[in-house]
């Protein structure tokens, strides 16, 4: 464990890449100047008070665009990284919910809970109107129980289908029992959830095709509780309490690890997913258990403590090295690709639709395309995840279709030459009196955060581009045409390069 490990510049930059969108050398240097150790830096990044921001607008496209704008502008970069993670985790789609206001409210709910108690977070999600619509809690009545939420609550939100040893965490009967707890829940016009007890399964009348299910217990055979009659979630006649009781039991679910020790299932499941998001795909189980044990997350469910442990662990910094044999690299999510590129190149989005200057047409005019639509081409429509599983990560983000969409975005931002805040202004970012091709390549790749990730041969390839394979040994960036062809062109090529697709 390494909370006391001194913070060095390269580690600071890696931390900022993963915990934010704008890991410039200057920002990394400031983090080092302010914080002697990794632990101090993690504390500083995690010290934010969650914002009450809620994306506004009449259409789902509006709130998607507004959220991206917020991500591009906010100082709370880690907060937005977390909101994005939880939006994927508690994946809820407008396609089914159908209410823009409810989607926006859920977005704020996620933001307010993004680094707090995970148990409280899940209890709040239980009663979130968008979620109640999305996973059919509002369609779950006694006699006609609907299993949708009871299943996904366990499979996706808290436990996973199987524990790390490959054993099932729950059975179909547990899904059915949990569905009983949620029968009769609805929400009122203010979006406040309430229980209609007349529609709640109190163990009394049931329809003929749904035979009585007996006592309200779960995990008769699972959960490591050692009680064959199961865990009782009933609460007498306080029926509204049952859903919270279910969560309390789920958060006590344990599994037997390889050393025959009982471990909290929710703790390891959530820790592994957060590590996978922030640090590396396929993390070792020892990294997972180390951060859970150090942070106490398996009993406190304090997300801030867990995140700090993740950010100070040595394994977190393993992925800072360039890709090669034995390295684990993560693919940038489309939102990360877009927001990081805009922030690093200091380009603001334009107009009501949050579009790029130039957009689909050309720099002199034409149709502007909203940032939400550009993200759709890359495979990530905010507020419309493809299914309850959220998005597929890693190489699933990249295909010929989505790569071409990234190439087009790179072309558009590098070619945004209108002159204002919504355009790419190389004179503000680079020394245009520089004429040495190698120095120019280094400056561009350093700004975009990939200089230390390139091979020498990659660097030579970029120099070849600048010099037209040696025909133009020095570059005169004061010449507008050369500037456009070479510097704007180089920026686009770097944004399109394989290594920039990695985190």
């Amino acid at each position: 464990m390494s909370a006391d490990t001194p913070l060095v510049l390269s580690d600071a930059r890696h931390l900022l890449r993963r915990a934010g969108f704008e890991a410039t050398v200057a920002a990394a240097q400031k983090l080092v100047d302010d914080n002697p150790t990794r632990g101090d830096a993690a504390d500083q990044l995690l010290s934010f008070t969650p914002s009450k921001f809620k994306p506004g607008g009449r259409y789902v496209e509006d709130i998607a665009n507004k959220w991206v704008r917020y991500m591009v502008k906010t100082k709370l970069q880690l907060q937005e990284r977390l909101v994005l993670f939880w939006h994927d985790h508690f994946a809820t789609s407008f396609q089914k919910v159908g209410d823009v206001g409810q989607m926006a409210v859920q977005n704020r709910l996620i933001r307010l809970n993004c680094r707090g108690s995970f148990k409280d977070f899940v209890k709040a999600i239980n009663k979130d109107p968008a979620m109640m619509e999305f996973l059919d809690t509002v369609h779950n009545h006694k006699g006609d129980p609907n299993e949708n939420y009871g299943r996904e609550l366990q499979e996706l939100f808290t436990l996973g289908v199987k524990d790390p040893m490959g054993n099932p965490n729950y059975e179909q009967d547990d899904v059915k029992q949990i569905a009983r707890a949620f029968t009769g829940w609805d929400y009122d016009r203010t979006g406040t959830a309430f229980l209609d007890t007349s529609s709640h399964d109190k163990g009394d009348s049931v329809e003929h095709w749904n035979p009585a299910r007996g006592p309200k217990v779960i995990y008769k055979t699972r959960g490591g509780f050692g009680n064959p009659s199961g865990q009782d979630f009933s609460a007498g006649t306080n029926y509204a309490q049952e859903v919270d009781n279910v969560i309390d039991i789920i958060f006590r679910h344990r599994y037997l690890d390889a050393t025959n020790t009982l471990r909290n299932t929710v703790g390891d499941y959530i820790a592994k997913k957060l590590i996978t998001y922030f640090a590396q795909p396929d993390p070792s189980q020892s990294y997972v258990t180390a951060v859970v044990d150090e942070s106490g997350f398996g009993s406190s469910f304090d997300l801030t403590a867990l995140l700090k442990s993740i950010f100070v662990h040595d394994d977190f910094y393993l992925t800072a090295v360039p890709p090669g044999a034995g390295t684990h690299k993560s693919v940038k999510w489309p939102v990360d690709y877009v927001v990081s590129s805009l922030r690093l190149l200091q380009i603001r989005l334009k107009g009501k639709d949050q579009s790029l200057l130039g957009g689909e047409g050309d720099p002199q005019g034409g149709d502007d395309v909203s940032i939400r639509d550009l993200l759709e081409n890359m495979g990530q429509v905010l507020f419309e995840p493809p299914s309850v599983f959220g998005w597929d990560w890693e190489t699933a983000w990249l295909s010929s279709a989505t790569l071409l969409a990234r190439y087009a975005f790179a072309r558009d931002i590098a070619g945004a030459r209108g002159g204002g805040r919504t355009s790419f202004r190389p004179e503000r970012l680079f020394d245009l009196t520089e004429s040495d091709p190698g120095t120019i390549v280094d400056a561009v790749t350093e700004l975009l955060g990939v200089k230390d990730q390139l091979t020498n041969s990659n660097r030579d390839d970029l120099i070849t581009y600048l010099t037209d394979a040696g025909a133009m040994p020095t570059i005169d960036l004061s010449d507008t045409d050369t500037l456009y062809r070479k510097l704007n062109g180089l920026v686009a090529v770097v944004l399109q390069s394989p290594v920039y697709q990695l985190q």
């Binding site: 095709w209 190489t395 699933a396 989505t402 790569l403 091979t455 394989p498």
Partner: protein, 483 residues
Amino acid sequence: MAITRRQFITRTGLAAAGTLIGPGLFRNPLLREAFAQLMQDRYLIVLFLDGGNDGLNTVTPQAGPLRSDYEDARNSIQLLPGELIVPVKAFTDTHSGTQLGFHPGLGGTNGGIAALYDANMVAVIQGCGYPEYNLSHDLSRSIWQTGSPLTTVGTGWMGRYLLNNGYAPTDIPACTIGDSVAPELRQTATSVLAFDNLQDFGFPYDYAYDNDTTFKDAVFNALHRLPNGAAANANSTMQYIGNTGGSTLDATNSYPPLHRKYVQDRPTWNAKYSSGGTPPGLNTSTARDFREIAKVIYGVASGVANVNARFFELRNGGYDTHSDQGGADSQGQHYNLHREVGDAVKLFFDDLTDMAAHAGSQTGLQNLHKKVVVMVWSEFARRITQNDSGTDHGSQGPMFVIGGGVNGGVYGTHANIAQSALDDDGNTPYSQAPGFRSTDFRDVYGTIIKHWLGMADPSILLPTDPIISSSYWNTANFDMGFV
């Protein structure tokens, strides 16, 4: 794709004419053509109904023994006998003697899959599933896509076919319509193209230099060098990005011409898929996706250079009908989904049939509708007994195998849906007494691999387990009659 002579004999029905088979075989020009058509000149499309399609309201007991059990299980979403489409061609579950009917949506606005069934082009395989069924969308989908119910594997079932057939890293034997490569096609040897539409599938150059080929070449070449470097990296993610990037750049040159050729040669058909034309075209996402496949197949069959895709995946989502499923209501959720698929599949085969009719001397286009098979699947069917207004996750359901080379009809056995025959969770079990089991989806894959793709032993690609050690694909009358 390699084949054995024995398969050739079996598939062409020439086994009896033994004297024809011998050293003189390949000197007979008619037989040489038959060989090419039957074994090499084929296409396979898989259509995924994402979310778990309600099989019982897709192919439904219309009359006979299973009808009353159906009526017990389904009330508000029940399809009445008169609402179901009863094809002219026999449509019966022979095991129980139940008359079946198609969901009315499958008739589409153009006759749909029901009309193709009457044209003898649809094999309906009842009760498809796998042992120890899983009710998680994610896991069950993965089981179907990898073709492996009991063990986890990293490649897709079609991907393993590609692996076994020696494609190079930058070959593009397969395409997915959509943003991401279909897991069925996943493997590490070759490239799969993913695109929404070929019209936009070009490399995005700086607009200011749109007519400057020197600039374009410089950018294109720089970008081509970078993926080549990435493909050589020891990191597997970089290899993937490198190979995908390289083949994508190549395809930006080779694939857009397929769009232009189709639109130019087939304007009337082009309009039928989209909003234009009189009467207006279908203009659904499934229809438009099928049109992209039609463009590629038309190009490949016409002999366009540098394209050779034979495998395709597309999907239609929205089948997770826990609520508001709708029965025979033509504005209902499930109806809309079926109509969209029925219309699109029918139009697609009409298009292929028309291409074949105008093939002239182009052998690739001749009989094209008989060279294409569409396999329709979903990760599971839904609960036999409905809930409030929809259906929860279930186990086995029907699959469709569609094409002019298919001997249409009903295959497999309908599950026993009597309440007393269901398991504790209300689903039909994999094995039902007496002596009956579901059709394993691997039976269907295996039949396609063996009889359509000509691979002698499908179990190389489809690991068996004790439960399906006696596979149907070895059963003479379960080959869906590929001709």
